[in-house]
Every structure is written in structure tokens, then in C-alpha cells.
Symmetry: none
């Protein structure tokens, strides 16, 4: 761990606290707001709640690990000797990333057969992506990092293929406002997930040091808030739009039923 | 950190504990009481619950940081060497201040288009106000403090303009008792938010020392209880008044009331 000035240390420390607070707030929101959407979309909100609860737990641990890894000597933070445990992130992703793809499938409310198949395939691909990346992350040499990095990219490309090709038709059939929201959510997923491989490649640049450590930790924090809380809010917006569309369709059905009822 | 007498230290310590207890109590109230209002106003109560949960977390941290920053030597509290982390307040505001303005918009129950536009504009202005204030808060010289302070005042004036001019007509259309309550809530927001810039300007007075430290921390505590718990209670009162007005209107106009009731 490189030496840090107090403002560098504090920036990372406060970012971790911010991310924890964002996860806590999002958890409460998803738990309470699930009753604002129709029953068939509540599964997606429950998954959003799980994701931010699991991520909140891991950020609490990362926060504690960060505090323990440094000690203040004069006005500089130096390594205390206790190692900083970055593996919490991979454990977190192994649990949350499959849930994030499952959320999107759940809110689309496809047929049960299609949902199950998509959730299984995307979930396994997401878990594989994280698991294959990890040996490269902890490798000392760039060649090993390359090999595992490329291996992890294959399931990532498969996920993109499913989301942008196979699911394209299903997304086009979403009612009204929901269609644009689902497309934006898919783009948010692509943009935020794209950040993680960039961080993965930082060691290639050979720019280890205080600035890199701070940039990586703050960058991961912002990416996690967008990819989990922001993404969950988009899923909520889709569920709300679809609940309203369902209600309007339901009113249309009731109106059509009136002549039948008046026959009695 | 200045030296403090035991009674000065205890006053701040007990204020933090009081604020934490107030946030905890308010959180439980907003979670349980959301079912006392019609479904369309529950979003506002959920946001009130989020605000006090996030603030409660930060007060817990501030409380711990305060305890760690001092140690009792004889009958005087002296700095322990562990820095007091005041940044928790800004992190808290970055998350809660946009939610506070969003709460007020949500309880007005405007058209979806108007709501989305207002929430986005007010939320971004609120986050900007906090983010621009921070570099000034941690600056060592008053000139830097001035520049960022003035920069942060611009989004604050924009928020006031929206609340008092643009929203004026919408507030005048609120039913019965709700109209006066919304006006009072808006005044509460102005009065409590007005306290923060006063504290921001304390360093200009060149009165650093024990009394200033105690006054600032106790003052922030009281302002936070009024601006979050008190404000949330006003929002609840508005939601109750509007629920009753909806029910009375619904009795005369059963057909229109049906879709609202079916959201439960």
C-alpha cells in the first residue's frame, strides 16, 4: 500500500462511507417501494434490494479493511502492516452480478419458460465472468493477467449478445414508456460494466502509486453506485411504467366488458 | 480541535446522541405511517424514511468520530490525534438534500411529466449546491471559501425561485388545509436551510475556539432535526390532509376514485 496524504486517504475513506450510505438508502427504498408496483414486477425489486444489501455489507467490510490497513504517522498515512482485502469486491460481484442480469429479465415479465432459460444462462455467464477474472486480478505477471482477463471477456460478450440481440425483440414489445426505459437501462449496464475491465487493465500502465490507488478505489465506488443503486432505480421506473400500462389496459378491458354485463 | 471542558464535550456528545435517536424514531414513524396515507402520497413518505435513515447512519459515524477525536486528561478533553471527520456532513447532504426537495414535489402529486422535470432540476441543483460548498468548507483561506460559497449560492437561489415562483400556482391549487401546510413546509425549508450558510460563514468571524466548535456542532444538530424530521412530519401532515380531501371528493365522484383505490 502506497503512502497517502491525509486528503488522499480521506477521499477514499469518505467515498467508502458514501457508497455504504447509498447502498443502505437504496435497500430501504427497494424494500418499501416494491409495494408501489404490481405483484408481477415485485421479484425484480426484491432482487434490487438483495443486490444493495450484499454490496452494503461488502462496503462495510472494505471500509473497515481500509481503516485497518493504514495508520497516521505525522501528517502522512502509511501502511500499518495489516493487508487491505480487495477480494471482498470479487466475492460481492460473484453474488450481485448474476442478480443484476436476473433483475432485468424479471422486470420484462416474459413467459416463465423464457424467463427461466434467460436467467439461468445470463446468471451462469455473469458468475463465470467474475470467477475467471479473479485469478488474473491476483496474478503477479501480466501474461497470467492477460490469459484470465481474456477468458473472463468471453462470458461478458455472451451477455452482451443476449441483451442486445436475443432480447432485442422482447424489448421492442415492451409497452409505451417502458421500451425506452429498458433500452436506457441496458445502456447503463453496458457503460457501468465497461468501467471494471478498464480498472483491471490499470496494472499494464505501470503507474502504481498513491494516485492510482485513490483513482481505482474512488472509481470502483462510483461505478458500484451507478451499476447497483442507479440501475435498480431504472428497474423501479420500468416496473412503475409497466404497472401503469397494465392498469390502463385493464381499464380498457373493463370498458369492453360493460356491454356484456349489460346483457344480464 | 480545541480543548473542551467536560460539560462542553458532553453537550456535543449528547446532542449527537439526541439527533441519532430523533432520526431512528422518525425512520420508524415514516415506515409505519406511510400506510396511513393514500398510495399516491406514499412515495413522499418513503423518501422521508430514506432521508432520516441516511442521516441516522451519518450521525452514528459523526458520534464515533467525535468520541475518537478526544481523550480525557485530568478534567479536560484534549485532542487525541485522531482527526474529527466533518466530511460525513457533506456526504450526508449530497444524498439527503436532493431527496428533501424530491419529497415536496412528490407530495404535491402533479402530472408525471411535471414531477419528473421538477425532481430532476431541483435534485441536480441541490446536489450542486452541496458539492460546490465543500471545497470552500475545507479551504484554509477565506478568499477560496468566498468563491465556492458564492458558487454554491447560485443553485440555492435557483431552488428558491422554483419553490416560490414556478411552483406558486401548483401550490395554490392544493386542496383545503393542504395549501397552508405546503406553504408552511416551504417556509420551514427556507428557515432551516438558511442556518447552514450562517455556520459556513463562522470562520470569517475569527472566533475559533471551544465555544465556536460547540455552537457549530449543536447548531448543525438542531438544524438537521428540524430540516429532516420536522420537515418530514410536515410532509406527512400534507399527505394526510390530501388523503382526506381525495376521500371527500371520491364520495361525490366514485368513478374517478376507483383507479386510485385499486393501486393499494
Amino acid at each position: 500500500m502506497p503512502e497517502l496524504t491525509t486528503s488522499q486517504y480521506d477521499l477514499v475513506y469518505n467515498t467508502f462511507s458514501f457508497v455504504f450510505a447509498a447502498m443502505l438508502g437504496s435497500f430501504i427504498f427497494f424494500v418499501l417501494a416494491r409495494q408501489q408496483v404490481a405483484a408481477r414486477y415485485r421479484g425484480a425489486l426484491i432482487m434490487s434490494a438483495l443486490v444493495v444489501a450484499i454490496a452494503g455489507y461488502h462496503y462495510f467490510r472494505i471500509f473497515e479493511s481500509w481503516s485497518a490497513a493504514y495508520e497516521l504517522v505525522g501528517d502522512t498515512y502509511v501502511a500499518s502492516g495489516t493487508p487491505f482485502n480487495d477480494a471482498y469486491r470479487y466475492v460481492d460481484w460473484l453474488l450481485t452480478v448474476p442478480l443484476l442480469v436476473a433483475e432485468l429479465v424479471a422486470v420484462l415479465a416474459l413467459s416463465r419458460r423464457q424467463s427461466t432459460s434467460l436467467t439461468l444462462r445470463l446468471g451462469i455467464a455473469a458468475a463465470l465472468m467474475v470467477a475467471l477474472g479473479y485469478p488474473g486480478e491476483v496474478a503477479d505477471d501480466n501474461m497470467t493477467r492477460n490469459i484470465w482477463g481474456i477468458a473472463g471477456t468471453i462470458p461478458f460478450l455472451y451477455i452482451l449478445w443476449v441483451l442486445f440481440r436475443e432480447l432485442g425483440a422482447a424489448i421492442d414489445r415492451q409497452p409505451g414508456e417502458a421500451k425506452a426505459l429498458v433500452r436506457n437501462t441496458r445502456l447503463l449496464l453496458l457503460a457501468t460494466w465497461g468501467f471494471y475491465p478498464l480498472v483491471y487493465m490499470v496494472p499494464y500502465l505501470d503507474i502504481a502509486g498513491a494516485t492510482t490507488t485513490v483513482a481505482v478505489q474512488v472509481g470502483y465506488g462510483i461505478a458500484d453506485v451507478l451499476a447497483k443503486c442507479g440501475y435498480g432505480l431504472m428497474i423501479y421506473a420500468i416496473a412503475r411504467a409497466k404497472t401503469e400500462a397494465d392498469q390502463q389496459a385493464g381499464e380498457g378491458l373493463v370498458a369492453e366488458a360493460v356491454p356484456v354485463a349489460s346483457m344480464d
